[in-house]
Symmetry: C2
Subunit: 246 residues, 2 copies
């Protein structure tokens, strides 16, 4: 029997849906009945913005609302917990979910899986670029998992991070959270510009460390360098853990 | 407060995900918190194929498994029930869900909404073509809802239905349920061929009456005639009923 995958949706809504799509895409299936069991609860109004919390712009830690959804998922029988939001994996936030986790449920940690995935599949890579929200940028959440594999990180400079990368996701007029079908040209152009800079500064691979960014950078490579979609790595890990396949 | 939308996923998995995407696409939102609350439970292994049941190829009515998921959704607080599968709306199947529906939950009926949508938006249309599974074909489920609006239906001939339309969804090698990213050229070509025939026989509009077919026919029109995506009409109705907007 496959283990029931529980997904905390709504962070953002597109990223949750994108994860479901990638779980299905990574599952060998020729008929409906071959797909893995998944439950997603998306209650976006109740989950405050993760980056705003990390920057002190809102008071309540979104970890509490995420934890409450996680517990609803556990009550509905989910054994594996997926949180398709990189910023939510900052220890200050995910720590609350871990502390209140229902017995019998296990978090499949997206950032940890990305670390493993790079170590397994890109053995020569020693320096990776990170494109993420300001929350991911400031927290250095990726560094701790990549450190175990002797991989160092390179981030955009502050002007590019605050003026290009973060707004490409959050700008109310052209950011991916506001405009995703299709994504705005400006978001794509700004993310490409910063990717090129990361590569010039030595990045041998770029992690798309915000679940909205793969909606803008949809290819496997950029300027000859692999792009790692953290949401897709999480999907692969969920398929492996749910089905028991390797 | 927005009403919680409950989605029975897994019929197929792509159609459930497609509905979530269309709910998000029909919701005015500039930030995560603006999106509507949705819960989807997808337990595809437990829900037998709807068309196979209608043709006597499997014994157990899939309505029982759908109803059990509906009740799990109700237990998790869902007030509106969405079943993103046209064939599941055949009275023999959905009747079971209706009879066992939890108090406080209401089905937003996809076929009924398509009837209303055509009557409201295409007032001059009197004859519509139906592309669906063999189950939808044989049951005439669309006819009963369109009859109220004086709209008649035109279906593919049996050779095209059994040899082209149904296999475009179900064929284990090239059908949409097996190959959806991207859909096979053969599925697209066969569906276009039959669409043209329906138009020659008087269809002024074509209903994509299987939730997988819009993955193959992705435009709004075909040969100058509007295509109505039943899943998108259902999404619009869910947004209206959840948010209380018109």
């Amino acid at each position: 029997m496959a283990r029931l995958i529980g997904v905390v949706g709504g962070m953002g809504t597109d990223a949750g849906i994108d994860l479901l799509k990638k779980i299905a895409g990574n599952t060998p299936a020729v008929k409906d009945q071959d797909h893995l069991p998944v439950i997603m609860i998306s209650k976006p109004a109740s989950i405050l913005d993760r980056t705003e919390y990390l920057f002190g712009e809102v008071d309540v830690n979104p970890g509490f609302a995420i934890s409450s959804v996680a517990n609803e998922l556990a009550k509905a029988g989910a054994e594996l917990l997926a949180i398709p939001c990189n910023t939510a994996h900052v220890p200050e936030i995910i720590g609350i979910v871990e502390n209140k986790l229902a017995p019998g449920m296990r978090i499949v940690n997206m950032i940890e899986e990305v670390g493993k995935y790079i170590a397994d599949n890109f053995k020569v890579v020693k320096k990776v670029g990170i494109l993420g929200t300001n929350g991911v940028y400031r927290s250095g959440v990726y560094d701790q998992y990549l450190y175990d594999y002797d991989i160092v990180t390179v981030y955009p400079n502050e002007v590019d991070q605050f003026g290009k990368v973060h707004p490409s996701v959050y700008d109310p007029f052209y950011g991916i959270k506001a405009v995703s079908n299709p994504v705005s040209d400006r978001s794509v152009a700004d993310l490409l510009y910063v990717s090129e800079d990361l590569i010039e500064r030595g990045a041998e691979l770029i992690i798309l460390g915000c679940t909205e960014i793969p909606l803008a950078l949809t290819e496997d490579m950029v300027f000859g360098v692999p792009l790692i979609d953290a949401n897709n790595v999480l999907a692969k890990a969920l398929v492996r853990e749910s089905s028991g396949s390797a």
